[in-house]
């Protein structure tokens, strides 16, 4: 419920129509949470090992890069923007970590900071281009993405290199044999998101996404909010690159590319509206988790991994059609 744009009334006494309630739940991530849990229950039923700490951590590790990328993308999509640079940022971070591995916990912290800085820089460029130069977001980020891909190729021409061992082992490990570290990273991101939601900036992101003109006339600095959203997004992409490197242990200048379209799929699946102003980070993370879980479930059901995409695509279309229907019912009321 963290992400409902208009938080639910504390007392049930307030009159909220059933349709409005349904819409809020769906857009707040309720729908995707339900799908995820149902899918997980099914997965547990057909694959008894699914509930072991090891498998959960494995799934979590697989999910986290996509989840973080989708979380970042959500900032931009809430603003009614597009951001293609996600792939480029992840690639740059990945090759940087592979070319310049820094050992030990200190090195890991430095690496993480570096990834955040790379993401923030690219995000700032996007934010200036979209917020201040008023370029179309999809066109501007297309350009920055191509440039980022080029930079990644300059840093590392062909797949190779090694990510520092500390990152590879510790970031994919479990604390006390139970809690996956990658899960903690996501939890930390969610916590930050909850705090951001309770700042003027957080509220402004939703306002700008829903009605830019009204937001401006209400005294919101639209350009700054927009640029800020891109910077936040970039930092999360950086973190996604960091976690992806821990996962793959090696560098690949194209490592971000496969995540690009999936990240959009995760955001849409979570119910965040591409028209802006509705949705949230939690929903997108669940969207990403569902896409990855779907892969596992299909594999366990004996369906060739070739066909995973057909299911992912169909689920995506169904989810968007469904939440669109719900939104329309809500608006009519």
């Amino acid at each position: 419920m963290i992400d409902t744009t208009a938080p639910l009334a504390p007392s049930a006494a307030r009159q909220v129509s059933a349709a409005t309630l349904l819409r809020r739940v769906v857009q707040g991530g309720g729908m995707i949470l339900f799908i995820y849990l149902a899918l997980y229950a099914y997965y547990g039923a057909i694959e008894p090992r699914a509930l072991r700490a090891h498998s959960i951590a494995d799934l979590m590790n697989n999910t986290v890069p996509l989840a973080l990328a989708a979380a970042g993308l959500t900032f931009v999509v809430l603003n009614r923007g597009f951001d293609l640079s996600v792939a480029g940022v992840i690639s740059i971070c990945n090759v940087t970590l592979a070319v310049a591995p820094l050992e030990g916990p200190g090195g890991a912290a430095l690496s993480a900071l570096m990834c955040l800085a790379i993401g923030a820089t690219v995000g700032l460029v996007n934010g200036l281009l979209v917020g201040y130069a008023r370029l179309q977001s999809i066109a501007a980020t297309l350009a920055t993405m191509i440039i980022c891909q080029g930079i990644a190729l300059v840093i590392l021409r062909a797949p190779g290199g090694f990510v520092s061992e500390w990152i590879v082992y510790e970031m994919t490990d479990r604390l006390w044999g139970v809690i996956p570290v990658s899960g903690l990273v996501v939890a930390a991101v969610l916590l930050v998101w909850i705090l951001i939601r309770r700042t003027d900036f957080g509220v402004s992101i939703y306002a700008v996404g829903a009605d830019e003109q009204a937001a401006a006339m209400s005294g919101i600095n639209v350009r700054r909010v927009r640029a800020g959203a891109y910077v936040c997004a970039g930092m999360l992409y950086g973190l996604a690159g960091f976690m992806l490197s821990a996962q793959t242990a090696t560098g690949n200048p194209n490592s971000g590319a496969p995540l690009l379209l999936l990240a959009f799929a995760a955001v849409a699946l979570g119910g965040t509206s591409l028209a802006g102003g509705r949705g949230g980070v939690f929903a997108s993370i669940m969207g990403a988790a569902t896409l990855m879980l779907l892969q596992k479930v299909l594999f366990s059901s004996g369906i060739s991994s070739f066909y995973t995409g057909m299911f992912q695509g169909s689920v995506l279309i169904l989810a968007v059609v469904f939440s669109g229907l719900i939104a329309r019912i809500g608006e009519r009321k």
């Binding site: 306002a207 937001a215 005294g219």
Partner: protein, 517 residues
């Protein structure tokens, strides 16, 4: 903090003190001058009306005063200090705030959040506190007599009238010195609430600029008025001395002649072209009428009495929920404007909003005109520039539009010429029934005459016209018969010389027949 500011300011300012001085302000967008030279003087504790035709420069002046745009030249002073706001926030810093006509509320935030934007109430941790936001919102609402509104409700869930009230309440909250109300009653059914708020603000010493088209309302709350015409402030008059005629003359530049010019139709057998019976819809509660061949049928109504729904339904844009429409005796089953144009003798619609539903910017005026009947002028699915131009020129001639404008991007034409192009398009579509929704909204007098002439010629040639107008003199001048809509029903019908402004007004506000007579 914000809540206390107005009261504080009120104590300092004596009534009559100069609150806002505007002198020689101008604004041009590229080669076009939106505001040429405006002078204005607002006094603390007084209400000044700003009057002018559509396009006289009122909205530009409001934008300048609110800090949305910066003027090219001229000076502004608030309480004797230079006032040069570069944003709405800066304007608010000088305690100048505006309730905008188009409403500046963010739909997906709550009422309370909207009231406090851009800085919400924080708890001790520096984070936005939901509870405090609600409390503060509730305070503001109750201060303006709106405690019945739930501060936690999302703005998109509110009816338009409440949204307008919240817009006004927010402006009053931020206006310690100058309050600008741009068409504040557009969505309000009655004026009691707003006048009460204005009086309260006045007592605190706030200077108020009141912009409205409704002269009766202006006379009730304002003492004087500044008139804008063609981007210049013409004069400031005391409203007690000036008659409505005087004011209209200042606004338009000449006396307005509203005598009826329609010659009584020769009494030939009326042949019905459109028969509407018991039409039901979103805002329609059973409407029945007929339009005959060669007849101009006017529709008069206050805002939001179902006229929009009626036109959109007849045009094929929305489906009726009940009742039938027959064209030439055939039951109309069309579901889009395209099908409507080709149904029986055809129905063609001139939309209400020229900018959003009418013109296609980026395309030439000629393309805009020929678009509905492109297949007619195409050969094998392709169009030659020459036949497009020739067809558009013929259509332009019927509305006296200069043909050199045809090759221009329609966005670069004046409002009047855009409207002429759309009118020419509607006429040239070949349809025998025209639905014209406010065909002369926001156009100059010359264009109006051209459009009137075109409508008359069309009817004389046997065409049928249904037109709504927000300007009653237009209905009086043009209509053979007139329907008055009220609350989704036909309240009264007038024909011939019975169509007179005072009768129409009486019927429009819902007076029963006996009272009207």
């Amino acid at each position: 903090m914000e809540s206390e500011a107005p009261a504080e300011a009120g104590q300092q300012d004596a009534v009559g003190h100069h609150a806002l001085e505007v002198s020689g302000v101008s604004k041009a967008y590229g080669p076009t001058v939106a505001l040429e030279h405006a002078d204005l003087s607002l006094q603390a504790g007084r209400v000044l009306a700003l009057l002018g035709e559509n396009g006289a420069g009122k909205s530009t002046l409001v934008r300048i005063l609110s800090g949305v745009v910066s003027p090219d030249t001229g000076e502004m002073m608030v309480h004797a200090a230079p006032y040069k706001p570069r944003s709405i926030t800066e304007a608010r810093g000088s305690q100048v705030a505006t309730a905008f006509q188009e409403l500046s509320l963010v739909p997906n935030l709550s009422v309370a959040q909207n009231l406090l934007l851009p800085r919400l109430a924080k708890s001790t941790l520096g984070l936005v506190s939901r509870r405090q936001v609600l409390t503060r919102g509730e305070e503001i609402l109750s201060r303006h007599g709106l405690s019945r509104i739930d501060p936690d409700l999302e703005v998109s869930q509110l009816p338009l009238s409440d949204r307008q009230r919240i817009e006004i309440a927010r402006a009053i909250e931020n206006a310690g010195r100058v309050l600008i109300l741009d068409e504040p009653t557009a969505a309000l059914a009655e004026t009691d609430w707003i006048f009460e708020q204005i009086i309260k603000a006045r007592q605190r010493g706030v200077a108020i600029l009141y912009i409205s088209h409704r002269l009766a309302e202006v006379r009730e709350i304002c003492t004087s008025a500044t008139v804008l015409r063609n981007g210049r402030s013409i004069a400031t008059v005391g409203l007690e001395q000036a008659t409505d005629g005087d004011i209209f003359e200042m606004m338009v530049g000449h006396r307005v002649d509203t005598t009826r010019q329609v010659a009584p139709k020769s009494a030939r057998d009326p042949k019905p072209r459109v028969q509407v019976s018991d039409l039901q819809g979103e805002a329609l509660n059973g409407v029945s009428f007929e339009i005959n061949q060669g007849e101009v049928l006017g529709v008069a109504a206050l805002e939001g009495q179902g006229q929009r729904a009626l036109f959109r339904c007849l045009a094929g844009l929305t489906a009726a929920q009940g009742g039938t429409v027959q064209i030439d005796g055939k039951i109309a089953g069309y579901r889009s404007p395209r099908q409507a144009m080709h149904f029986a003798s055809g129905v063609s619609y001139l939309p209400e909003e020229r900018k959003t539903e009418g013109i296609l910017t980026g395309l030439t005026a000629a393309t805009n005109i020929v678009l509905p009947f492109l297949p007619r002028i195409a050969k094998m699915g392709f169009i030659s520039a020459r036949s497009e131009e020739a067809t558009a020129r013929r259509a332009a001639e019927t509305v006296e539009m200069d043909k050199r404008y045809l090759s221009f991007d329609i966005a670069d034409l004046s409002g009047g010429n855009q409207q002429k192009a759309l009118m020419g398009r509607t006429l040239a579509s070949g349809a025998q029934t025209l639905l014209l929704f406010d065909p002369t909204r926001g156009v100059d007098v010359g264009t109006k005459e051209s459009i009137y002439t075109a409508i008359r010629q069309f009817a004389e040639a046997g065409g049928s016209v249904l037109f709504y107008s927000s300007e009653l003199p237009e209905i009086v001048q043009l209509a053979d018969r007139c329907l008055v809509l009220y609350d989704g029903r036909i309240a009264r019908e007038f024909s011939g010389d019975d169509i007179a402004e005072h009768r129409l007004i009486a019927a429009m506000v819902g007076h029963s027949e006996t009272e009207a007579a």
